[in-house]
């Protein structure tokens, strides 16, 4: 391209063609990634007969929100949405509190057996939650926590990775701030909340967002520990939708769109934190 005519001495050699090509490639890839979502949205706005027409059509001829209305009228989706919100908020809050305290304990205090305990918890990172479903379900039956919020929440709060990531982060915070706070008479408890937490806000936001997404989307455990439809979360409840709606695709896609929308919005709002947080937690951690 035109680069060749520029004086080579003043500008570093650049090759503009790949830049344009990569932008085009990037956009094509983005479109491919968006098509399934758009197709779902598209289907959900069609009247039922239009969804099963043989040569597929893109835009709905007579767009309608009937599918959304009937899905919402059935009522379950709102109930599941409510359950998902409660479960995800509880999981996120408790995970953050419990992990911050543990990370502080391992990073800044000394007590007998601290290293062994930390090693044990780190080994917990290797334990796939899927391995525990059978004994955990028995335990929940014994505790009477089947079909309860706590039954869904408590096992998800145990996140050894969080303790590990936060401990590493705390290790990197200079002790000078704490010493200053101590001179002012702050207890260690106060130091956690008024020194460590404010100083690690970006990573806590990122960890919090990922915990929230993980909890909202968790399928296997809530699926196993709930049998009562009124206690189900969105992912679990929607699993039965295909069966109960039969072949009404517009309604199925309407519930898929409604089930996916809340997190898409959360993500669009917090994208910056998510991207930066992955860097902090994943690469440096």
């Amino acid at each position: 391209m035109t680069t060749a005519t520029l004086p080579a001495a003043t500008k570093p050699p650049r090759w503009n063609f790949p830049k344009t090509a990569s932008a085009v490639g990037a956009v094509i890839l983005a479109v491919i990634w968006l098509v399934p979502l758009l197709w779902a949205l598209d289907t959900s706005l069609k009247p039922e007969p239009e969804t099963t027409r043989a040569p597929i059509t893109w835009l709905p001829e007579s767009p309608t929100t009937d599918a959304y209305r009937s899905v919402i009228d059935q009522g379950d989706l709102i109930r599941w949405f409510f359950n998902s919100t409660i479960v995800s908020v509880l999981v996120t809050t408790l995970t953050l509190i419990v992990s911050v305290l543990a990370a502080y304990g391992f990073s800044r205090t000394k007590f007998p057996g601290r290293k062994v305990l930390f090693g044990l918890i780190i080994a917990g990172i290797l334990v796939p939650p899927q391995v525990l479903i059978v004994p955990l379900f028995q335990e929940m039956t014994g505790l009477g926590l089947v079909d309860t919020y706590w039954g869904m929440v408590l096992p998800q709060v145990v996140a050894p990775v969080m303790v590990f990531v936060l401990k590493k982060f705390f290790d990197g915070i200079s002790r000078d701030y704490e010493d200053a706070a101590r001179v002012d008479g702050a207890s260690r408890w106060r130091i956690v909340w008024s020194v460590m937490v404010p100083m690690s806000r970006p990573i806590l936001v990122a960890v919090g967002i990922f915990t929230f997404i993980g909890a909202w989307n968790n399928f296997l455990w809530p699926f196993i520990v709930t049998t009562d439809p009124s206690m189900m979360t969105i992912p679990v409840g929607l699993a039965n939708v295909q069966g109960s709606y039969g072949l009404r695709y517009a309604q199925i896609m309407a519930s898929a769109v409604l089930g996916g929308l809340p997190l898409l919005i959360v993500y669009a709002l917090f994208q910056r934190h998510v991207v930066r947080g992955v860097g902090d937690a994943g690469i440096k951690g």
Partner: protein, 313 residues
């Protein structure tokens, strides 16, 4: 480790000396445990205990009701090695892992290279590539089952429009796994993409400026600078991805329920069926342990490989 700070505190603030001194020996020695205690309690209750009770169960003929327990010794473990369903579901898990890991790493890298730009376009690209990752498995599978639908689904619609014959993706033995892999790549590649993107943004601009001054063109910069600098990230992503792929359950359960003819049933689904459909708790626990062992071996082997390479650098 640095020495605890209280001595300095007592020196600095004489008024508070009385308190730490009276409470010190006990508080100093065990106080830290209080911070760890809440996590530890949950860890013991909901991780350690199930691990131990699962192992215990694997030596018994336990049903889900848990009433009659007959000690079997190693019978469950012996059954395990002679059970073709264990091996076929293990094979399906490995096939899925082998098929899904390479695209999930390579496409993520390509996406990161493409989306590492500022401004609105960068934002839009990052949003599109990562958006599917935030969706629940059920939403993803509802959409993709519809896309794979014969007759009026999107994929088959495009195939027939292009003059090809339709494929009943989810009900054909050697196509169903491919369909699940495609869905999985679409759904989860965004996470690896973000890891790569973070690593890319961590490479200082001066490195490229220096290379440009030395006359390196775009291609040379990519292969001589960017990719080598990303090799640690690649290692990390491969480990995380292998372990994640081995844990496959949600998409397959929701898209094919392990069919057709168990051709896609992964090991976790066999555990689930054994425990919750056949109510053979003891046997399901034994299979869980086999799977657990595989995960640990993969993770430890990768870690060894990883840290070995790190030292060599």
């Amino acid at each position: 480790m640095a020495v605890e700070t209280p001595p300095r505190v007592t020196a600095g603030t004489p008024s508070t000396t009385a308190k730490p001194e009276t409470g010190q020996p006990w508080k100093e020695r065990w106080g830290g445990l209080f911070f760890v205690a809440p996590f530890l309690l949950l860890f013991v209750l909901f991780m350690l205990w199930p691990i131990v009770s699962g192992l215990w169960n694997s030596f018994f003929n336990t049903s889900l009701a848990g009433v009659k327990q007959e000690f079997l010794g190693l019978q469950n473990w012996r059954d395990l090695f002679g059970d073709p369903a264990v091996w076929s579901s293990l094979k399906n898990t490995l096939v899925f892992t082998a098929m899904s890991t390479p695209p999930l790493v390579v496409i993520a890298l390509v996406m990161a290279l493409l989306a590492n730009r500022k401004g609105l376009l960068g934002w839009l690209l990052r949003f599109s590539y990562f958006a599917p990752f935030v969706l629940p498995a059920t939403v993803v599978t509802l959409i993709w089952v519809w896309i794979y639908q014969p007759g009026f689904g999107l994929v088959n619609g495009l195939l027939t429009a292009g003059g090809f014959t339709e494929i009943d993706w989810l009900n054909t033995e050697n196509r169903a796994m491919l369909a699940v892999v495609i869905t999985t790549v679409w759904w989860t590649v965004g996470f690896n993409f973000l890891l790569y993107l973070a690593a890319l943004q961590g490479i200082p601009a001066q490195v490229y400026e220096a290379a440009a001054i030395d006359g390196a063109n775009g291609r040379q910069q990519l292969f001589r600078i960017t990719l080598p600098l990303l090799s640690r990230t690649t290692g990390l992503i491969v480990v995380l991805q292998l372990v994640a792929s081995l844990k496959i359950f949600d998409q397959i359960y929701l898209m094919t329920t392990g069919g057709p003819n168990h051709a896609t049933r992964p090991i976790i689904m066999y555990i689930y069926e054994t425990g919750f459909t056949s109510y053979r708790i003891g046997y399901a626990s034994a299979i869980s342990y086999l799977f657990f062992a595989i995960i640990v071996i993969v993770a430890v082997a990768q870690f060894k490989l990883f840290s070995g390479r790190g030292e060599a650098e």
